[in-house]
């Protein structure tokens, strides 16, 4: 199980980093989503991997699974979900206004051409 979880985290992170470095909005959004998945699984695993154990310590329980990382993951999922929505909306607006979906500020368009309102 350790190998499975560890390789899942590793592969998702690698894919996420690769996609983010593509520097076009759609791959970047997908890459960020993959990275947050990897982070969530990683956080979950930091409470140690256990199967079929209760999240509380009772007198007759053989052991317990740490509930705190699960609570942390829940918060992280909510935040990353909201963030993904924000970045999708902003990427869409940026694409519609500038007719390009490059995330980096390309050198052909110097910064000072900005239209300051």
């Amino acid at each position: 199980m350790e190998l499975l979880v560890a390789s899942a985290v590793g592969i998702m992170t690698a894919a996420g980093v690769y996609l983010v470095l593509r520097a076009r909005t759609f791959p970047v959004v997908l890459g960020l989503a993959l990275m947050t998945y990897a982070v969530n699984v990683f956080l979950f695993a930091m409470g140690r991997l256990t199967v079929n154990l209760p999240p509380v310590l009772t007198a007759d329980a053989a052991g317990y699974t740490d509930p705190l990382p699960q609570a942390l993951v829940l918060t992280a999922i909510v935040i990353s979900f909201g963030m993904t929505a924000v970045v999708v909306v902003m990427a869409l607006r940026a694409y519609l206004e500038s007719d390009t979906d490059h995330v980096d500020l390309a050198p052909s368009e110097p910064v000072e051409k900005a239209d300051r309102p």
């Binding site: 990275m35 695993a45 930091m46 206004e97």
Partner: protein, 516 residues
């Protein structure tokens, strides 16, 4: 328990939804509520500063859960100082914004209040995961503020800013996970108690977590090599938003000061002084990069952005050394650089909207409206930022130079600070003479940007920030005892841990006795 401690978070958190739900169609009412809330925040911050200067850190256990099981807020001298600085900057920036900039997009005031909530929370929290949550709160608000008013270039810079910070957030979570996996706690005081006991086998994981945290905070503080996002973002953000962002880089510096100073500092076993070796060179390179950028900038906004990077380098030098004297000097400079950067960004906005078609580009062009007054303000603010006498930038740099005099790296630090100050002087002199001096010899006159309607209030706001700088210079002697006590409190790690881990327990016990 002192319930005033949580109010700097609660107040903007309550005002923001009210601004969205109740008064979103009424600009005047929204402005009144926003300003009133910020004034109250300022009053609260002053009150908390007085409370904090009485002595020990004060602990607020949320839901009365005793630490380390519940989340705690901790008010000490440093967080009180940062709260006051935030409220002061926010008030002047808001006055600037209600002079027209806030109606160029929607929900400016709600986002502004949420931003303040996030910043205040980050300064108050005593829990690592809670710090992450408040970072996210202030970031989400800043994404909205950054693209306020729209425009293609600004939106593209906004997407880039969001992407960089989302990667940063992922790294933050990985670091938090590593540290929790090794120590089993996320309360900062509890971490400081447990980190020295981490067995050698787990040190690699713990130190990886600590260094990842440093990287995340360095992104916020714009330290080299992760400073690249700042010039594009700050130069393209609306003027009042860029001015408010002057405090955001300080949130990164504060987090490094708090987390790495407390948890990975002196006496923490194998993890002690983990980041010092990295931080000092990074700070020096940041300083050099920033001030070189000032020389190379092609617009006034870029120039101020690079100056902010340079000043962050100066702020981080004392943080890296982490001694009593350097910390006091660093805190003095931190307050100064926040006010100076805020004033300069507001001035960039004033210049840009008065030069129709040119914006803040550094090209010689005919004179524009009120260029005399703006030039005078720019002169003062640039003096302060470059660190020339008589303003606080000079005093701050002098204090830092004096504090590092006996250290090993003194020669490096002295050379770096003195040479970069010279570069900054040249850069700002070039910018000022291009924009104000040479324009006087040109024929004709530049018109206002379409929709620009800023009046006297904008000048009051810039003047207020500059008056703050003058006051900070004049009161340098009076504030030094407070700053030195703050430095003392930061170095007294045992005191912090004892206060946080024991006080609420005592309170519960006393209550229990009272009931019998």
């Amino acid at each position: 328990m002192n319930h005033w401690i949580i109010l700097p978070i609660l107040l903007p958190a309550l005002v923001a939804p009210m601004l969205v739900l109740a008064v979103r169609h009424d600009v005047v009412l929204a402005r009144i509520f926003s300003v009133a809330s910020t004034v109250l925040l300022l009053a609260l911050a002053v009150g908390l500063l007085v409370t904090a200067s009485a002595g020990e850190p004060q602990v607020y256990a949320l839901g009365h859960w005793p630490p380390p099981f519940g989340i705690v807020l901790v008010l000490d001298r440093l967080s009180a100082l940062m709260l006051l600085l935030t409220a002061l900057l926010a008030l002047w920036v808001l006055l600037f914004a209600i002079d027209g900039a806030d109606v160029r997009g929607r929900h400016f005031h709600a986002l502004f209040q949420l931003q303040l909530m996030g910043i205040n929370g980050a300064f108050l929290t005593g829990d690592l995961f809670n710090l992450f949550v408040f970072f996210e709160v202030l970031l989400i608000a800043s994404y909205g503020l950054m693209v306020h008013g729209g425009g293609a270039a600004r939106l593209r810079a906004g997407v880039q800013y969001v992407a960089v910070n989302l990667v940063g957030s992922s790294l933050f979570l990985i670091a938090v996970g590593l540290i929790y996996g090794v120590t089993g706690t996320l309360n900062m005081a509890d971490l400081a108690a447990k980190v020295p006991m981490v067995p050698p086998g787990d040190q690699a994981l713990l130190q990886t977590g600590a260094l990842l945290l440093l990287l995340v905070f360095a992104v916020k503080a714009a330290l080299v090599p992760v400073q690249f996002w700042l010039p594009g973002t700050y130069a393209l953000a609306p003027a009042p938003v860029a001015a408010l962002f002057a405090i955001m880089t300080k949130v990164g510096a504060y987090a490094i000061l708090r987390v790495h100073g407390l948890i990975f500092g002196e006496g923490m076993g194998e993890a002690a002084h983990l980041v010092q070796d990295w931080l000092l060179p990074a700070a020096l390179v940041t300083l050099a990069t920033g001030m070189t950028g000032v020389l190379a900038a092609r617009s006034l906004g870029q120039m101020v952005s690079f100056a902010v990077i340079g000043s962050m380098g100066t702020v981080m030098i004392p943080v890296a050394l982490y001694t009593h004297q350097t910390l006091a000097a660093g805190l003095y400079y931190l307050v100064h650089s926040t006010l100076a950067a805020g004033a300069l960004f507001l001035l960039v906005g004033l210049v840009a909207e008065r030069r129709s078609g040119l914006g803040d580009r550094l090209v010689v062009a005919p004179a524009f409206a009120q260029s005399g007054l703006i030039a005078a303000f720019f002169f003062l603010a640039a003096l302060a930022m470059a660190g020339l006498p008589p303003l606080s930038g000079f005093v701050g740099k002098l204090l830092i130079l004096d504090a590092v005099r006996d250290g090993e790296a003194a020669a490096w630090i002295w050379t770096c600070i003195l040479v970069t100050s010279f570069l900054a002087i040249i850069g700002f002199a070039r910018g000022g003479s291009t924009l104000f001096w040479k324009s006087a010899a040109q024929e004709g006159r530049l018109g206002m940007e379409q929709g620009a309607d800023s009046g006297a209030l904008s000048f009051v706001a810039v003047g207020g920030l500059l008056a703050g700088l003058l006051l900070w210079t004049a009161l340098a002697g009076q504030v030094t005892p407070y700053l030195e006590a703050t430095a003392g409190q930061l170095l007294d790690r045992g005191g912090y841990v004892d206060t946080v881990l024991e006080t609420p327990g005592k309170v519960i016990e006393e209550k229990g006795h009272g009931a019998h």
